[in-house]
């Protein structure tokens, strides 16, 4: 990435927020997924989940570093990850929800990675060259996440009575939070205007086209639509977010600036 001209000026405050939001998604879902480390049902999946968590945290590092540069207030990846308070985080609520069980963990990654994949595809041609470079690296990771989690969703949904029950419960719980992906936002407008990235609302049809066949193959039925809209990407988070941040930020909060 060092050989590329690094974009260091934001085209608008919306541009910064757009990149920050993607960084926060990756960071918070990475943190959640990493909670499985040492707790997975089998060693093989322990490593698979840790690998996916580390991919996400790697994406978060690049995105937050870039967002910090664009913002121009001297905040690096660590300052953004560990020294912001809850309302400053712009991640989708879906990313911060508790893991609950293996079914919900895998289904969440399946739903999110399919969204992320669409986003990375569009961002390959972003006018923000740094973001385009991050997309080129991350799209490969998202493809694997989508494949691995999707394979599990099918095996759990179309598996035993218990695995089906858990997968369906996971879908009933997570599905209402997916509507948030596509709520229009001012940051989207600004980013789309400058050619930085797509309006997230325009990805809805493609996302559903990717998700529905998977859920069908998994013998899962879509819950009825509800008017509820989560608001994490606008900084209004669920009751779970504070606990996640307390754990994630603990060390930097009691030893500010501590380094390895």
């Amino acid at each position: 990435m060092t050989e590329m001209a690094q974009q260091t000026t934001a085209t608008s405050p919306g541009h910064v927020e757009y990149v920050m939001r993607m960084g926060d998604n990756a960071l918070i879902l990475g943190q959640r997924t990493a909670e499985w480390c040492g707790h997975s049902p089998v060693l093989e999946e322990d490593m698979a989940l840790a690998n996916m968590a580390l991919d996400l945290i790697g994406q978060a590092r690049m995105l937050l570093t870039h967002a910090g540069r664009l913002e121009g207030r001297g905040r690096d990846e660590d300052a953004l990850a560990f020294q912001r308070n809850e309302p400053a985080f712009r991640n989708l609520t879906l990313c911060e929800l508790p893991n609950e069980d293996f079914a919900r963990t895998m289904l969440r990654i399946a739903l999110f990675s399919r969204f992320q994949l669409l986003l990375w595809e569009r961002l390959l041609s972003s006018t923000d060259s740094e973001l385009a470079a991050i997309a080129a690296k991350s799209i490969k990771e998202a493809r694997y996440h989508a494949q691995h989690s999707g394979d599990w969703v099918v095996r759990l949904g179309d598996g035993t009575e218990e695995s089906h029950r858990r997968a369906q419960a996971a879908l009933d719980y997570l599905w209402p939070y997916t509507a948030e992906f596509f709520i229009p936002s001012a940051a989207d407008e600004a980013a789309a205007e400058a050619g930085v990235g797509p309006l997230w609302s325009t990805l809805e049809a493609d996302w559903e086209a990717a998700v529905r066949p998977l859920l069908e193959e998994a013998m899962l039925s879509l819950p009825a639509p509800v008017p509820f809209r989560s608001q994490g990407k606008f900084g209004r988070h669920s009751e779970h977010m504070g606990h996640l941040l307390a754990e994630m930020q603990y060390l930097q909060r009691i030893h500010p600036g501590a380094r390895w």
Partner: protein
């Protein structure tokens, strides 16, 4: 609760194009597709490979360890089978 073990898969990784796949360990997985994925996660995290084979361990037919004397000992005194009695021309460097 009944606890069924997933089948065991032997994992073979080719580290570079042109080299052979080498046995590097095993994984438990419910089926072949996931066996490949977890083999990737367990054995190629540090760029160890460019290709993976998995074989269900049950499908490997192994020689009987007790049959070692009749299988392998007769080769012991046939040192003429080793190509060490030839003088190789200098041009042939990598035999």
């Amino acid at each position: 609760m009944e606890r069924k073990e997933w089948p065991l898969w032997e994992v073979f990784v080719r580290s570079r194009n042109g080299l052979d796949h080498k046995h590097c360990g095993s994984v438990h997985a419910p089926d072949a597709r996931l066996a490949l994925q977890v083999a990737r996660d367990v054995y190629t995290r540090r760029q160890e490979g460019v290709s993976i084979w998995v074989v269900q361990a049950d499908h490997i037919v192994a020689s009987d360890p007790d049959a070692k004397p009749e299988l392998f000992d007769p080769a012991e005194d046939k040192i003429y089978r080793h190509p060490t009695f030839y003088k190789l021309p200098d041009e042939v460097n990598h035999m």
